[in-house]
Amino acid sequence: MQRALRTGLGYHGFDVHAVGSGEEAVRESAAWRPDVVLLDLGLPGMDGFQTLAALRPHTRAAVIVVSVMPGERDKVRALDAGADDYVVKPFGTEELVARIRAVLRRQADVTSGEPVIRSGDLEIDLAHRAVRVGGKPVRLTPTEYELLRYLALHAGKPVTHSTLLRQVWGAYAVGDKYNTRYVVAQIRKKLGDDSSNPRYIVNEPGVGYRLEA
């Protein structure tokens, strides 16, 4: 697997450095300073979640979690622990490359501090708290705006329900996931989006939502 990935990613122009354990990854990432870390959750020794926790203070690299575990709980746990995205094994090289490019693009966007975030013809103007679809302004309630803003700040990244609840409703929110679903439905309606075929905010089943980048 490691050799296949090294070869495949190498063909796409990435400089790949492979290590065999979580401990090594933490040590190497401090010295080597990668842009993206592909982290398999099923590691020998220090497990994937421990590695993720140990990596975070050392590196600003985007972390993509790779796992065969089909459980949504693991995805949520990884995202809540600071992972940027996840890929479920098995996957094709093209799919992985697309994910890597997406997280790299997102990193660049965040550092550039662009005040307007776009998703198709949807514009979220953070400086003026304004939302436009095809140039036409859309009126959102404060809650709806907060939720959309948070998704926009992490455009392309899956955001978990619990993160949304915490970020939009506050740390002591007594809400359930149905709250976020209801608000997302309202936003989609106002943006003229169709829940059964959404263009802007897409569902990540069992995990949360993602704004298409």
Partner: protein, 498 residues
């Protein structure tokens, strides 16, 4: 005559001796006083004695004392002194008054003493029960508390057997008290199963002996919520306080048996949970073992498809074909794991969801396969939410859509829809492909049954399991334009907030 009987008789005769001695002493005292002064009405002093005796020992010593007093007074003080002659009605009246006082005070005192003794008995019963109950509730081991209780019950006069039998998931298990025969255990199980008492019944806080019993020599059976109390009462007319005590003990035993059963049930539930966790762990490790090699295969095959690998178009086509096969293998492994997970009864993660969201996710997942097909969704935005496991129901939609993709002609139409009906949501996926033969409509959901040469026969079986796990139904039918799969989902009991 034994020594014990002798002392008992002596103890019984003490009040009478005191009655006679007291009368004599008072007579002597009156004689002494009358020799010095002439005080009349001293005979009332006898009344004090009679009264005291009546209160202390009841009516008979008092009667003896009153007769004694009358005779002595008559003999020594009433002229003609030295004779027992009764003259005139006034003397007779005196005797009658003395006797009446003796009888009335005796009666009063006796009933007082009786009620005092009764309350004493009730208090001691309550104390005994309290001690037993605290001991029983403090002891972590219910069985030892039950043994204690049985010991207390057999200490009651006339109770020669008191045993407790627990009914554990349909089996009679003797827990405490005297030994029971296999037949008696069977009888206890019968009593419990039918909720019928045999020989005794319990009501109003006491035990009642039944007049008719099938087996006069055998023990009585009293069914409790979680077990049976088996007892044998040898006396024909047991004291009411003994029966009350027995009823109280039986009640306490019932509580202890309930507590024991609650503990057993929670232990059993923990066991099931553990076996659920084990199944999930086995499946997760199995999926790891099966999927890891496929993952390496696909990663390697697709790596070589890159233009930089410099392969000929023909070689690339071969690799693409191999990758498709690996992908198919992954699908089948996924289906099999999903099916075994469903069969293992791994719990659903149900939450309120909007059907349109579920459809959106499924369509998105199949985005590339659906290119060039017309997909229509006929689901009202205001449909009530459904209470489902998002991932599992998403799988149902994906499988039904894949099935439709397989059968719909190129450029054909796939129609999805949903409507609220009879308290649940009815959803369907229809395509305009060939009709399903009527004979296949029923077995189309069977595991490993497939109409396609390359199908695994698992997709629709998974749909059926998932839908049924949600308490719904699924069916296939031929509509005007083509085959339609319809399934039901439970509605969520939520009021939309803000």
């Amino acid at each position: 005559m034994s020594a014990r009987k002798l002392t008992a008789m002596m103890r019984r005769s003490v009040p009478y001796a005191i009655a006679i001695a007291g009368s004599v002493a008072i007579t002597a005292a009156i004689a002494v006083v009358q020799a010095r002064t002439s005080v009349s009405g001293l005979e009332t002093v006898y009344l004090l004695l009679v009264l005291w005796l009546g209160v202390r020992w009841g009516r008979w010593p008092a009667v003896v004392a009153s007769v004694c007093a009358f005779l002595l007074y008559d003999f020594f003080f009433v002229p003609p002194v030295g004779t027992f002659t009764v003259r005139g009605p006034s003397e007779l009246l005196e005797l009658v008054v003395l006797l009446a006082v003796a009888l009335v005070t005796g009666q009063l005192a006796a009933s007082l003493r009786r009620s005092h003794a009764e309350s004493e008995a009730i208090a001691s019963e309550a104390r005994a029960l309290y001690q037993l109950a605290t001991a029983a509730l403090r002891s972590p081991e219910v069985t030892s508390a039950l043994s204690l209780l049985c010991g207390r019950a057999t200490a009651i006069r006339g109770v020669s057997l008191f045993s407790l039998v627990a009914m554990d998931f349909g089996h009679a298990v003797p827990l405490a008290g005297g030994e029971l025969t296999a037949d008696q255990l069977k009888q206890a199980a019968w009593a419990h199963e039918n909720g019928r008492s045999v020989g005794v019944s319990i009501s109003d806080g006491t035990i009642q002996l039944m007049k008719t019993r099938p087996d006069p020599g055998g023990p009585a059976y009293l069914p409790l919520a979680s077990g049976v109390a088996v007892m044998r009462i040898d006396v024909a007319h047991p004291a009411p306080e003994d029966l009350r005590m027995l009823a109280a003990l039986t009640g306490l035993a019932g509580l202890l048996l309930d507590r024991r059963r609650a503990a057993l049930e929670s232990e059993r539930a923990r066991g099931f949970e553990a076996s659920d966790r084990l199944k999930a762990a086995v499946l997760s490790s199995l999926s790891h073992e099966l999927k890891s090699p496929i993952a390496s295969l696909r990663a390697g095959l697709t790596a070589l498809l890159s233009p930089r690998a410099g392969l000929e178009p023909e070689q690339k086509a071969l690799l693409q074909d191999l990758d498709r096969q690996a992908n198919r293998l992954d699908h089948m492994v996924g289906d099999m794991l999903a099916l075994s997970r469903l069969e293992a009864g791994v719990a659903l993660d149900k939450e309120p969801h909007r059907f349109a969201d579920l459809v959106g996710s499924a369509l998105r997942q199949l985005r590339s396969d659906l290119k060039g097909r017309e997909v229509t969704v006929d689901a009202d935005e205001d449909l009530p939410p459904v209470d489902v496991d998002e991932v599992q129901v998403g799988r149902v939609l994906v499988n039904l859509l894949e099935n439709a993709l397989e059968w719909a002609p190129a450029g054909g139409r796939i129609a999805l829809g949903a409507a609220a009906r009879d308290g649940h949501l009815e959803a369907w996926v229809e395509n305009d492909g060939p009709f399903i033969p009527a004979s296949d409509l029923d077995r189309i959901f069977d595991t490993f049954w497939t109409r396609r040469a390359r199908g695994s026969g698992l997709g629709l079986a998974i749909c059926k399991r998932v839908v049924e796990a949600h308490g719904g139904t699924i069916r296939a039918e031929n509509m005007r334009r083509g085959p339609r799969f319809t399934f039901t989902l439970p509605l969520a009991q939520v009021a939309a907030t803000r």
